[in-house]
Each structure stands twice: as structure tokens, then as C-alpha cells.
């Protein structure tokens, strides 16, 4: 629905022809903006502050840019606890340092109690695209392989457990992480054509968007999908599919070819140690398909709305 809203309302009025998370200006300056409204504000594996930095860094680095600067704007609900704010800001700074970015400017507004959920953060990010790098979905070809850097669905499960107070122990953790290094490894060691972080809507949504944009088909291999055992079991319990769940530290990369050396290298880095080739692009089908463990192809459609837990 958000994508539809963007297409119908914003893209038309603002005369934006593409719907990318980040835009490169004059071939070297990449900019992005995003808003963070996660609830709960603190969750296992992170908080809204960390998320605002990793989210921005990841939007910037997906086109190969080096993330450099972040501007952060805060909307605070009146009475928001100062110690919590300290904790969030500190988290932002440590995440920024890990990602090699500087937070250089900001703004703060306080609104009356009840007018926002504690705290919202909006960021603008600036990165620099090195010469010679031009990642583009238009470069994807039939036969290109699809890689993810680790296990799917962990962030969504962490948030659902925290929000619904399911009482899982240990509480599942979000995979919230900056991906600039993963992109660098891919750029330096393979023919990387295009990458996108698999946030809201999960891997299945991104793959459908790529199919829409390129006209190619995609076949994903169910037995290759990296999913934590706990995530799989919890998805079974809640009636959810990890392919449609949000991640905050996972990207999908389309590469010319995958080899064991690349995977071995990815596995040496903490945010890609469970990297896997999950499928490939093809002209044999239209749209996204999953090859089940029984060898059948079944469609992986785009969902219009976020998946909801169910008991039936």
C-alpha cells in the first residue's frame, strides 16, 4: 500500500521517475531520507536510534556509495524519559562510529503527550559514490545469482515478540546491522550488478519489485533459504512466512556468478557469516517462484500489506 501511495501521490507531484531508497546526484553524491517509528523503541538487538543509523547507512551503501554523513531530526513526546533519550543517542553514535559515518546536524521538536509514540526519528544521509561503480537493476540478466547475507525474518520476529509480549526466552534479537562492509566485499570480489536491503515486506517483496522493474523471472530454492531454526519454528507458530518478514541487516544482491571463494569470504565477516545463494534470475518464468523441497514451483506473490500473525 505504501508503494502504491508513493506512486500515486508523491512520484507524480514531485516528478520522480524512480522509486529508489537513495538517489545519486551528479554521479557522485548519494542522498537518502527515512523516518523511524518503530514500536517498541527498545527491542532485543537494538533500539530506534541504532535502527535510524543502520537504516540510513544501508540505504546509502546499496548503490555502492560510501556512507559519510547523517542528519537526524527528533520528534519527542512531552515527558519522554531523558535517560532513555541518552541511551538512544548513545546507541546512534556507537552505530555511526561502527559504520564510519558522522552525525553532523539535527533538529528536535517536542509535541504534546499523545501526539506521537514516544519518539520518532527522521534522518537524511549523504554518501559518496566512487568512480566506476554503477549498480543498476537494468544490468541484471537471466542466469545471475541471488545472494542474501544471512538468516531471514529475524527482525520481524524480534519486534513481534516484543510488541505482543509473547514472553519468549531468550527474546529473539533483531538483525539490525550496517551493511556497507558486505557491499564492499561483494564489489571487490564479484560482478555485483544490483543490491537492495530486504526491509519491510521481506525478500519476497524485493524480488517481486525487481521482477516488475526488469521483466525477468526469479526462481528461489526453498532448501537454500537461510532461516534460523527458532525463526522457522516461531513462524510456524504464528502462521508467518520468513520470506515476507522484515529484516534490518540483510540485503539481496544480484551477482554475475557465485563461487565458493566468495561465500567463504563473506562467511569470515560478522554480518555475512550465514550468507547463501538462494536462487537465480531466469527467462523461463514470469514473476517470482519458489522451488519447494518437493521440487515443485509455486508462485511467491507480492503482498499488499504486512503479514499478520494468525492462529488458523
Amino acid at each position: 500500500m505504501t508503494r502504491q501511495l508513493i506512486k500515486e501521490v508523491f512520484a507524480g507531484e514531485f516528478r520522480i521517475s524512480t522509486l529508489d531508497d537513495a538517489v545519486c546526484i551528479d554521479g557522485s553524491l548519494t542522498v537518502t531520507t527515512d523516518a523511524y517509528v518503530v514500536n517498541p523503541i527498545f527491542f532485543p538487538g537494538g533500539d530506534i536510534g541504532k535502527l535510524s543509523i543502520t537504516g540510513t547507512v544501508n540505504d546509502l551503501c546499496m548503490n555502492g556509495s560510501r556512507p559519510a554523513y547523517i542528519l537526524a531530526s527528533f520528534i519527542l513526546e512531552e515527558g519522554f524519559a531523558i535517560d532513555q533519550l541518552h541511551s538512544i543517542v548513545s546507541s546512534m553514535q556507537s552505530t555511526a562510529e561502527e559504520a564510519g559515518v558522522q552525525i553532523i546536524a539535527g533538529d528536535t521538536k517536542v509535541v504534546e503527550k499523545g501526539r506521537c509514540d514516544g519518539l520518532y526519528i527522521t534522518t537524511a544521509g549523504i554518501g559518496f559514490l566512487p568512480g566506476g561503480i554503477h549498480l543498476d537493476a537494468g544490468k541484471i540478466r537471466s542466469g545471475d545469482k541471488i545472494i542474501v547475507n544471512g538468516t531471514l525474518g529475524d527482525h520481524a520476529i524480534a519486534i513481534i515478540n516484543a510488541r505482543q509480549q509473547l514472553g519468549l526466552t531468550p527474546a529473539p534479537e533483531s538483525d539490525c546491522a550496517p551493511l556497507h562492509e558486505v557491499i564492499r566485499i561483494l564489489l571487490q570480489n564479484t560482478n555485483l550488478k544490483f543490491a537492495r536491503d530486504a526491509t519491510r515486506g521481506g525478500v519476497a517483496t524485493i524480488l517481486n519489485e525487481i521482477c516488475d522493474d526488469t521483466g525477468l523471472g526469479i526462481i528461489i530454492d526453498e532448501s537454500s533459504l537461510p532461516v534460523k531454526y527458532s525463526t522457522r519454528v516461531l513462524c510456524d507458530m504464528l502462521g508467518l512466512d520468513p520470506l515476507y518478514l522484515a529484516n534490518e541487516g540483510k540485503l539481496i544482491a544480484f551477482i554475475g556468478e557465485a563461487n565458493d571463494d566468495l561465500l567463504s569470504l563473506l562467511k569470515t565477516y560478522k554480518y555475512s557469516y550465514e550468507a547463501a545463494v538462494i536462487g537465480q534470475c531466469t527467462n523461463e518464468v514470469k514473476g517470482v517462484f519458489l522451488r519447494t523441497i518437493l521440487g515443485r514451483l509455486r508462485p511467491l506473490l507480492m503482498l499488499a500489506s504486512d503479514p499478520l500473525p494468525r492462529i488458523c
Binding site: L168, P170, I311
Partner: protein
């Protein structure tokens, strides 16, 4: 219409409640429909209630049916 998953009982607490482990995480649930369950038993879990104890013996028996099926061309009786 009824999602239920297997989970192992790791603790029995008070008031017919207990702790199960599913996929490496633990959760408090109600054992009121399976009061005879013992720690180490597997149960079928539906919305925070254990609705039955799973018997490993029956699980193996079900699987044994498959393991014993010879390939189609070697079967003597036809369906």
C-alpha cells in the same frame, strides 16, 4: 484451521502452567489440558495451550509405514 506446533516441556510451574522450549526459545504456556505431562515430553502447542502429548512411539510407527513401502515396481498387491 488450527496452527499448532510441537514443543518440549522443560518445566512445570504453578497453576497448571509450564515452560516449553520451541526452536531453542522458551515460553510459558498452560498445561491444564495435559496435566499428566512430564518434563521432557513433547506437546502440541496451540495459542499458549498444550492440547495433547505427542507420543514418540506413534511418531515412529507413522514413519515406519513409509520406510516399509517398497518401490512401486516391486509391490505384489495393487491398490
Amino acid at each position: 484451521m488450527c496452527l499448532a506446533i510441537p514443543a518440549i516441556v522443560v518445566k512445570k510451574t504453578h497453576n497448571d502452567m509450564g515452560i516449553v522450549c520451541l526452536g531453542g526459545v522458551e515460553k510459558e504456556i498452560s498445561l491444564m489440558f495435559t496435566p499428566e505431562v512430564r518434563i521432557g515430553d513433547w506437546v502440541m502447542l496451540h495459542t499458549d495451550f498444550a492440547i495433547q502429548i505427542i507420543t514418540e512411539e506413534d511418531a515412529r510407527e507413522t514413519l515406519a509405514i513409509f520406510q516399509e513401502i517398497p518401490p512401486a515396481d516391486q509391490r505384489e498387491e495393487k491398490i
